[in-house]
């Protein structure tokens, strides 16, 4: 019993260390001089702390705009995907209309197609709407989510039909049933979808890189990528930029830790 306990701990500690080393390396490198950062063998602790790496990189790029764009993109994508997925999922789960199952099959199929295939048509849409280099362009592909529709449909299917019938007798119309009974009961599903959407939007690099080319319209991901081009060998500044880019996400994670873990681990099981 006791030995097994230790074994599990050792495995977990190894896992944690593996995850933390890159973060540590990023932090340490961001404070080194350029020479020290490429030294062999590498140093585990900076010989001198070069805090100016941060001010230099902050001044060289419009980080304020990056933040605004990133959070704008995440905010509207969450609103959009949660709203549209929930309404679509409810329809697929509970309404009866001709072609319902076939349409839902099509939604599932889109999940199986590699996302890169959509890049060109999506760009076409944004370009023809005259929205290239705007916040809308960043948000657009994330407004609807096939995965979210699938996920929330499972949640709605798990809610007993009697609850809806009770709501009908209590005087609710369709929209009120959805809004006052179904949505609150699918809360953990909505939170999970919100988290997935935020994560995906945060990490999305390809799409912002293609659609928004002026620096002021970029989110953090593609903004940082441009840093790599400018300072291809200046690792300390690159790392300083990365630290500036990730700290809001880390703070958010710490604040929402509980919901985050519940959302990812408990999907589908709570109702």
């Amino acid at each position: 019993m006791e030995r097994k306990h230790w074994l599990i701990h050792i495995v977990l500690i190894l896992g944690a260390v593996t995850m933390l080393v890159p973060f540590y390396w990023m932090l340490v490198t961001s404070l080194k001089t350029l020479v020290e950062s490429t030294q062999v063998p590498p140093t585990l602790w900076p010989q001198t702390f070069v805090w100016t790496n941060y001010s230099d990189v902050w001044n060289s790029l419009p980080f304020a705009a990056f933040y605004v764009n990133t959070f704008g993109m995440i905010f509207f994508r969450i609103i959009g995907s949660v709203f549209f997925s929930a309404t679509a999922a409810y329809a697929f789960a509970r309404l009866e209309f001709p072609g319902r199952d076939m349409l839902f099959g099509l939604v599932l199929v889109t999940m199986m197609i590699p996302g890169q295939l959509f890049l060109i048509p999506q760009y076409e849409i944004v370009a023809r709407l005259g929205q290239v280099d705007t916040l809308f362009a960043l948000v657009m592909p994330g407004l609807v989510s096939a995965f979210g529709t699938f996920l929330l449909r499972q949640f709605f299917l798990g809610i007993p039909k009697e609850l809806e019938e009770a709501a009908i007798l209590d005087g609710c119309n369709r929209w009120q049933i959805f809004w006052k009974v179904m949505l609150p009961l699918a809360r953990s599903g909505l939170v999970a979808l919100g988290i997935f959407t935020a994560l995906f939007a945060w990490k999305d690099l390809m799409w912002p890189l293609i659609v928004n080319t002026s620096l002021d319209e970029m989110p953090l991901a593609s903004g940082l990528a441009s840093l790599q081009g400018q300072y291809s060998t200046n690792f300390p500044q690159l790392m300083a930029g990365s630290v500036i880019a990730i700290w809001p996400m880390v703070v958010l994670f710490i604040i929402f830790q509980k919901q985050f873990i519940q959302g990812v681990a408990g999907t589908g099981s709570k109702s």
Binding site: P160, E162, E165, A166, A167, I168, L169, D170, G171, Q176
Partner: protein, 367 residues
């Protein structure tokens, strides 16, 4: 005023007819029970009254209004579901208030009504709890409370007690009776439990296979079942059915079958003479079979010898599962009597309570 009238109601899913020609008038303030075996269409009928299912054909009136195309929320009904269907994300108070809120009843009125209903159902202490934190019986009472606050003109209940344990079910049964006396509202109650039906109903509808078998008061159903199905369904333990032959002429008629020979009452004899067929089905309730030894009965009255196979002692009564000829029968004896497996018991039938059914269409031939 809320009489509920079902005129030739029919329900079909595709070619599958679930409810056939359901014709019934439920009087204002009546407690009407629908009873029948699983799958006979009780819930479906109730849900058509509620408006949760479409009516395939026929007419439904509540009060004087044709309700076929009226939406459920405008039918002035409230329903209690088998699994209660309480909103898990709302407190007990919110659950009970929800229906009123949706109907834009002023806040202070809602508050007063919910608190009144809660007090009468002993829920006052629980108003701030979520359903998850309630026991089965408490949830059941919340479900009732939610219906009560609406003050509907008809209450619909679909097996509201079937998720409770036996003891609680007994308590809740009396509570529902009391509720009905207090509210004086029409109630339609679905159950497959004949005890619930007998104890609660002013009248009972016995359903089988989507067809009404008989509508009557509990005692009339018990005493004068219209056919074998009703006779077997109402009463516990079930009536014994024994194939029998009508023997003899006017004045000297009796029923004879495998292992028994039953005298009949004068009235019955008169009627048996007129029955065309000779072969019938004799129905005897377990309560109407007595031990000739205990009764000190005359030898002439003994109907047959039962061979005891199983003895079930229930306290006040003892159930004897016996073999009579080649047939299985059940008799209910007073609890004080001792019986042993294998014992031969001389049996007497209560001749005033015998039933005779047609072997051909299972109709009660004595009605």
């Amino acid at each position: 005023m809320a009489e509920v009238r079902l005129e030739h109601i029919r329900k079909a899913y595709g070619d599958n007819v679930i409810v056939k020609d359901f014709d019934l008038t439920i009087r204002d303030k009546e407690f009407m029970v629908f009873v029948g075996p699983s799958g006979c269409g009780k819930s479906t009928t109730l849900r058509m009254i509620a408006g949760l299912e479409d009516i395939t054909s026929g007419k439904l009136y509540i009060g004087d209004k044709l309700m076929n195309d009226v939406s459920p929320k405008d039918r002035d009904i409230a329903m209690v579901f088998q699994n209660y269907a309480l909103y898990p994300h709302m407190t007990v108070y919110e659950n009970m208030a929800f229906g009123l809120k949706m109907r834009h009843v002023p806040k202070d009125v809602i508050k007063r009504k919910v608190q009144e209903a809660a007090a009468s159902l002993q829920l006052t202490e629980l108003l701030d709890r979520k359903p998850k934190a309630l026991s089965g019986g408490q949830r059941q009472r919340v479900a009732m409370g939610r219906a009560v606050v609406r003050e509907p003109s008809v209450f619909l209940m679909d097996e509201p007690l079937s998720n409770l344990d036996a003891k609680l079910r007994g308590t809740m049964r009396t509570e529902i009776s009391r509720l009905h006396q207090r509210l004086q509202t029409t109630m339609i109650y679905v159950t497959h439990d004949q005890t619930e039906a007998m104890t609660l109903g002013d009248r009972i509808v016995v359903l089988n296979d989507g067809v009404i078998q008989q509508v009557d008061t509990p005692m009339n159903l018990y005493r004068h079942p219209c056919n074998k199905f009703v006779a077997g369904f109402i009463g516990s333990p079930s009536m014994n059915f024994l194939p029998a032959r009508i023997v003899g002429e006017e004045g000297e008629v009796y029923l004879e079958g495998d292992g028994f020979h039953a005298n009949v009452s004068y009235d019955m004899a008169q009627k048996l003479v007129d029955v065309g067929a000779r072969e019938v089905l004799l129905g005897v309730r377990p309560d109407d079979i007595h031990d000739a030894g205990v009764l000190l009965a005359d030898k002439k009255e003994i109907a047959g010898q039962g061979n005891v196979e199983i003895v079930e002692q229930l306290g006040a009564t003892t159930l004897l599962h016996m073999r009579l000829g080649t047939q299985q029968i059940v008799a209910s004896m007073p609890g004080g009597q001792e019986y042993a497996v294998g014992q031969q018991v001389p049996l007497v039938f209560n001749i005033d309570n015998l039933h005779v059914f047609s072997t051909h269409d299972e109709r009660n031939l004595m009605l």
